[in-house]
C-alpha cells in the first residue's frame, strides 16, 4: 500500500491509514487474548484431571 493510498479519506472522515492502524491494533489485542484463552483451556484440563484423581477414581 503506497503512502498516497493511506491518505485516502473514507466516508466516516477517517483516513485509510488510520483505519489500517486501528484494525492492526485490534487484531493484535485479539491474538494476545487467544494466548490467555489457551492458558485457560490448559487450566480447565488440569482441573478436570485433579478432580478425577481426587474423587472419581
Amino acid at each position: 500500500m503506497s503512502a498516497d493510498h493511506l491518505l485516502i479519506r473514507l466516508a466516516d472522515g477517517r483516513t485509510a491509514g488510520e483505519v489500517h492502524d486501528e484494525e492492526v491494533a485490534a487484531d493484535q489485542r485479539l491474538e494476545w487474548g487467544l494466548l490467555v484463552k489457551e492458558i485457560i483451556s490448559i487450566c480447565i484440563v488440569v482441573a478436570v484431571l485433579v478432580v478425577r484423581h481426587l474423587w472419581f477414581v
Binding site: E23, A26, L30, L34, V48, R52, F56
Partner: protein
C-alpha cells in the same frame, strides 16, 4: 469481503480469511464449529510453524508475482486446486499467511449428501497431494517449511486418521482375546488421551469465537458423538459412571454379570472404527424418504468427527479404484444473508 481487508498483504504472500457461516440448521452448526477448529485455530498454529497445509480456495489472495511464480495459472489437474496453490506458493519460496481476523462469507452444505460430496472431493484431493509431493514429506528444506517434521505430522495425523481409528480398534479387540488386562490398560491410556484432547480443543475452540460458539456449543460437545462422549465420561469419572451403568442395567432388568460387562467392553473397543460405519449409515438413511428423520440423530450419536473420517476413508477407496474425477461442486441455494 468486509473492509478489514484494507490491510496490506505483504509481497509474495497469500492472505486468507476465516469463513463462519450463519448456522440455521444442525449440519451448518457442525460445519460452523468445525471451521473454528480447522481454520481459526489450526491455521493460526500453521502460521507459527511456518508451513501452511491449505488455505480455502474461496478466500485466497495472491500477489501477481506469486501467481506468475507458480506457473501463471491455477493447477486444475487435481480435486484440491487450493491445496496445490498453497503448496506451490511455499515451494516457490513465497510466504503463505492465514489472516484469522478477516472475514469471508460462504455458503456451506446443509445436509449429509452435500457435505459428503464436498468432503469427498477435498479428501480425494488430499490423497492426490500426498502422492504428488511424496518426495517432500519429512525432508526439511531451508527454502520452505512443508518438509519439516512438524508439518508432516500435522498433515498425516489428519490424513491417516481413519486408519489410526481402525488400527486402534483392531488392536484393542485382538488384545481383548489375547491379554485382557493389557487391553484394559491400553484402552484407558488411549481414552484418557482422547479425553484430554477433547476438553482442551472444545473449550479453547469455543473461546476463540464466542459468537459462533453461542450457536454451536451443542455441536461442539457432541462432535465426537454421544457414545464416544459417554466413553470419555467413563474414562474421566469411572466411579460415577460405573454406579450409573449398574443402576441403568438394574432398571432394565439386565444382570450385571461377567458376559454382559465383557460384551459392553468389546463394543467399546469396536466403537472407534464402528462409529465410522454408523456415520455412514446416517448418509444412507438420509437418501431414504421414510427414514430421513433418523439421519441427524444418527450423526449426533455416532459423531460428526467419525462422519468426516468415513468420508476420508471413502476417498482412499475412490482414489485406489481410480474413480473418475468429477467436480461435485457444493450446491449453493442463496439462503445465506449478510447481517
Amino acid at each position: 469481503m468486509e473492509p478489514k481487508l484494507t490491510r496490506e498483504i505483504t509481497p509474495g504472500s497469500v492472505g486468507e480469511c476465516c469463513l463462519i457461516p450463519t448456522p440455521p440448521n444442525w449440519m451448518k452448526r457442525f460445519v460452523g464449529y468445525e471451521y473454528i477448529t480447522a481454520q481459526a485455530a489450526a491455521r493460526r498454529s500453521q502460521n507459527v510453524l511456518g508451513a501452511m497445509a491449505c488455505l480455502a480456495g474461496g478466500a485466497q489472495l495472491h500477489t501477481r508475482a506469486n501467481l506468475e511464480a507458480i506457473g501463471g495459472q491455477i493447477d486444475t489437474s487435481s480435486l484440491a486446486e487450493d491445496t496445490f496453490t498453497t503448496f506451490k506458493t511455499q515451494l516457490a519460496g513465497n510466504r503463505v499467511v492465514f489472516d484469522g481476523n478477516a472475514t469471508v462469507w460462504a455458503e456451506e452444505p446443509d445436509n449429509i449428501d452435500g457435505l459428503w460430496k464436498q468432503r469427498l472431493r477435498w479428501g480425494r484431493g488430499n490423497v492426490q497431494v500426498s502422492f504428488r509431493y511424496k518426495h517432500m514429506w519429512f525432508r526439511p528444506s531451508p527454502d520452505h517449511g512443508l518438509g519439516s517434521y512438524s508439518s508432516g505430522l500435522f498433515w498425516f495425523c489428519l490424513f491417516l486418521l481413519p486408519i489410526f481409528k481402525i488400527v486402534a480398534s483392531a488392536s484393542l479387540v485382538a488384545l481383548f482375546f489375547i491379554d485382557f488386562p493389557l487391553s484394559w490398560a491400553a484402552f484407558k491410556m488411549l481414552w484418557i488421551t482422547n479425553a484430554i484432547g477433547y476438553i482442551f480443543i472444545t473449550s479453547f475452540t469455543l473461546m476463540i469465537d464466542p459468537e459462533t460458539a453461542r450457536n454451536t456449543w451443542r455441536e461442539a460437545v457432541t462432535f465426537p458423538g454421544l457414545i464416544s462422549l459417554a466413553i470419555i465420561h467413563y474414562t474421566l469419572f469411572p466411579r460415577f459412571f460405573k454406579w450409573a451403568l449398574l443402576e441403568v442395567l438394574e432398571l432394565v432388568h439386565i444382570p450385571a454379570s461377567g458376559p454382559v460387562l465383557r460384551s459392553i467392553i468389546l463394543f467399546i473397543y469396536f466403537w472407534l472404527a464402528a462409529s465410522m460405519l454408523a456415520a455412514w449409515a446416517a448418509k444412507v438413511v438420509e437418501s431414504r424418504r421414510r427414514l430421513r428423520w433418523l439421519s441427524p440423530p444418527l450423526v449426533y450419536i455416532s459423531g460428526y468427527g467419525p462422519l468426516l473420517c468415513a468420508i476420508m476413508f471413502t476417498s482412499y477407496i475412490k482414489e485406489a479404484r481410480g474413480a473418475e474425477m468429477t467436480w461435485d461442486k457444493t450446491e449453493k441455494t442463496g439462503k445465506v444473508a449478510m447481517p
